[in-house]
Subunit: 214 residues, 2 copies
DNA sequence: TAACAGTGGAACGGACCGTTCCGCTCTGCT
DNA sequence: AGCAGAGCGGAACGGTCCGTTCCACTGTTA
């Protein structure tokens, strides 16, 4: 294990460092599958004891917050990546595909309300909104996005994809891609299409989850 | 039973008969909002005591089963109504609109697994599948449904609509209609469309919920 | 070898929830 | 008129589940 001098830590320290990662990964997997899973399930999945968890996080809420914030950052990162794509429509669809694949929506929206958010999360959320708007604007500019689609239709779309869930994760990904394809086809501009009904989704309408409950 | 002359019964009996309905309505509202709400929440919402519930149902499972079965019957009824509609495409979209509006999906799929189903439910579920297939076949025949859409894409579609949920029920209905409109547009046949990706959803893939858990 | 970071997991205390039970009210029948 | 009991409200009970704490133990580091 420990190769003597210098850099690579061996033994206990190395194990601990590795556990950092293992635990986060387990937490992601477990809470993605069930947002109100017990903390013991995370420990079990990670193959560690409960103490290993509480050594790193002040409590369940702390862990959830971190997880959610990670998801938010991922969202922002994917959006920034997408904005580098020269093709407007490809940027839009590529972004959505990656966000859906990574199940970012479950990490963020579905975990909200289980903890009190930090200010930084508020800032990141705002930034996420701006980037999404930019992507939608570009999609509109490309002429491929139907003109009556608005930014907050993305909320509906992501919710729809996240709702698809079967026991096998890989199959879930496939079905979500299919769902996404249908939705993107539905959001594509076609001649003589009926306009989308109802007042379009608005700014604060999906934030209600962020208000604590249960 | 009915003792006095043919008039509307008053007093206790009438109250009891009214409670039958009030309780069912409350149960529907509560469990639609949260499939694992406590039974006391139903009683509270109905404005009755817990005893009034247990007088009518053997237990929570019994109530849930009944509720789910009602939803299933509603699904079948709407499908049969739809099949009377002469226009193939209108039958298809009308059916989906009514099923989405009534939130039948939450009553059936989302309540599954919380009780052991009866044989009759199994038969009704099978009939529901046949009727849905008939509707999809007719939609295909109309030429308006893209040819690579299959019956079980309805499962994805209904899941997507049921996933839309905001505090205000009326607003929820509006947003679901919008979601449905996007999905129907996406399922409409257009020239030169990319085919839908992945193996299409298959028969048993959404039934996993029906296997008990939690 | 002494001290201790890191850990596993039992144990604790509280929340929640389905179900039961008891006492009350008011009805419908005799 | 009077009584048996249907119908009911809600407290109480027993059980489950879960977050957190606590302690004994182990390998490492100094």
């Amino acid at each position: 294990m420990s190769t003597t001098s210098g850099k690579t830590l061996g033994g206990r320290r190395a194990q601990a460092a590795r556990n950092d990662e293992v635990i986060l990964e387990a937490a992601r997997a477990v809470f993605l599958d069930d947002p109100k899973a017990p903390i013991a399930a995370v420990a079990e999945r990670a193959g560690v004891g409960i103490s290993a968890l509480y050594r790193r996080y002040a409590g369940k809420e702390d862990l959830l917050r971190q997880l959610c914030h990670d998801g938010l950052r991922r969202y922002v990162a994917e959006a920034e990546t997408a904005l580098d794509e020269p093709d407007d429509w490809a940027a839009f669809t590529g972004f959505l595909t990656r966000v859906v694949d990574a199940d970012v929506h479950s990490l963020t929206v579905h975990l909200a309300g289980t903890f009190t958010p930090t200010e930084e999360m508020g800032r990141d959320a705002m930034r996420a909104g701006e980037l999404a708007t930019a992507l939608v604007d570009r999609a509109h500019a490309s002429g491929r996005l139907r003109s009556d689609a608005v930014v907050h239709d993305l909320g509906l779309l992501l919710e729809a994809c996240a709702a698809v869930r079967v026991p096998d994760p890989e199959r879930t990904r496939q079905l979500r891609r299919r769902q996404l394809a249908v939705l993107l086809a539905g959001l594509s501009s076609v001649p003589d299409a009926d306009p989308l009904p109802g007042p379009p989704p608005a700014a604060g309408e999906f934030d209600w989850r962020w208000r604590r409950r249960e």
